[in-house]
Amino acid sequence: MKNLTSIARAALLSALIPISPLLADTPSGQVEFGTFEPSKSRGGAEFVEINLKGPLLEMATKFAGKQDPELTKLVESLKCVRVNVVGLGDDNRSDVRKRLGEIRAQLDSGGWDKIVNVQDKGDNVTVHVKTRGKEAVEGIVVLVEDHGKEAVLVNVVGDVKPEQLEKLATRLGIEPLRQAAESISKEKK
């Protein structure tokens, strides 16, 4: 009876142990953009938000199909893909611009390398990269303001080089990311 009591006590205690949530540390290349909402003042303004991480990112890469070895390695290193396309209206333009400025300042002071910085005729494009050592990339942040009409924010966390972004975006079927990568390629030329 005593043994049975001990067993029962152990079983009861194990059932009471709560299932711990998965607590993942924030990866080094990840940047918190905050939450954006669609503009209510500008009719037809586009709003796109993609926040892929964990099992959803895993599923998205499976649906992307088989890739060449280089892309396979790239996809396997991905931890998070975040894309925001925010149509700017009178109600959110100044707030979004202010947040873009704050994010740029945070990146500049946070050990990120600014590899592209273009301000031209209403376009404002910056690309920051966080590296680990000489070769490994931990994250990329692309911030675009397009003629005051829309803002694009991209954060890809993983060992991804800027020149690989367009290929990655095509494979994952994320059009706003592909367009942002294309604009980087154009600015670099």
Binding site: I19, S41, E46, F47, E49, P55, L56, M59
Partner: protein, 209 residues
């Protein structure tokens, strides 16, 4: 009086409820709980059926007029088991069988706006705000959103992913006339296999394959 006391002590029903009995009962209850799959269900994270209801209520709260249900269907694990067994008697594409094997539970809710009241400007923003608020209260967060002035597509995923192969996801598609909500829990490994089969059999035009 002494005789009454003796009778009371000898009657097992009158004996106080002891800790060993309580522990044994708890152990048996836990054992049955685990066997029934309820523990797995609790570990699967946010509930798909509740998510579908939250999304429906969010649209109803954030839009003018009434919504009439055209379809409201919910299937749990027993339902999918029955469906799989039933399909043994029918000739269907293997991919349909594979899809049923991948699903654990699913809720589909389709509703149409009543009357001729037009959608108001900025309606999708209001729906998105209300849906996000309600879903966040029950452990879901936005994963993918595409919104224009009068139409909205949102995919919600659990904020904290539970352990195990099951993943949950809720989708809301809403325009001025109709809302479609699908919330499901699926086995990610089986879905991955299904995706591979789909790709091998015909490719995904959306990805240009």
């Amino acid at each position: 009086m002494n005789r009454s006391k003796d009778i009371a002590e000898s009657n097992p029903r009158s004996k106080p409820f002891g800790w060993p009995t309580l522990l044994l009962a708890s152990f048996l209850a836990w054992f049955v709980f685990v066997l029934s799959g309820c523990r797995d269900r609790a570990a699967a994270g946010p509930n798909a059926g509740d998510a579908a209801d939250s999304l429906h209520d969010a649209v109803a709260a954030a839009t003018p007029g009434a919504w009439h249900d055209e379809l409201h269907l919910g299937l749990g694990t027993p339902g999918f088991i029955a469906a799989r067994q039933g399909l043994r008697l029918a000739r269907v594409d293997d991919r349909v069988r594979d899809a049923l094997r991948a699903a654990r539970e699913a809720t589909v809710h389709i509703a149409r706006r009543a009357g001729q009241k037009p959608a108001r400007a900025g309606e999708s923003a209001a729906v998105l705000e209300e849906a996000t608020r309600r879903m966040r209260e029950t452990g879901w967060e936005r994963a993918v959103t595409v919104a224009s002035d009068d139409s909205l597509v949102v995919v919600f995923a659990p904020a904290v992913w539970p352990e195990g192969p099951d993943i949950a996801c809720s989708v809301l598609v809403q325009d001025p006339e109709q809302m479609v909500i699908v919330a499901a829990v699926v086995d990610r490994n089986r879905v991955g296999q299904l995706a591979e089969q789909l790709r091998l059999s015909g490719g995904n035009p959306a990805l240009g394959h």
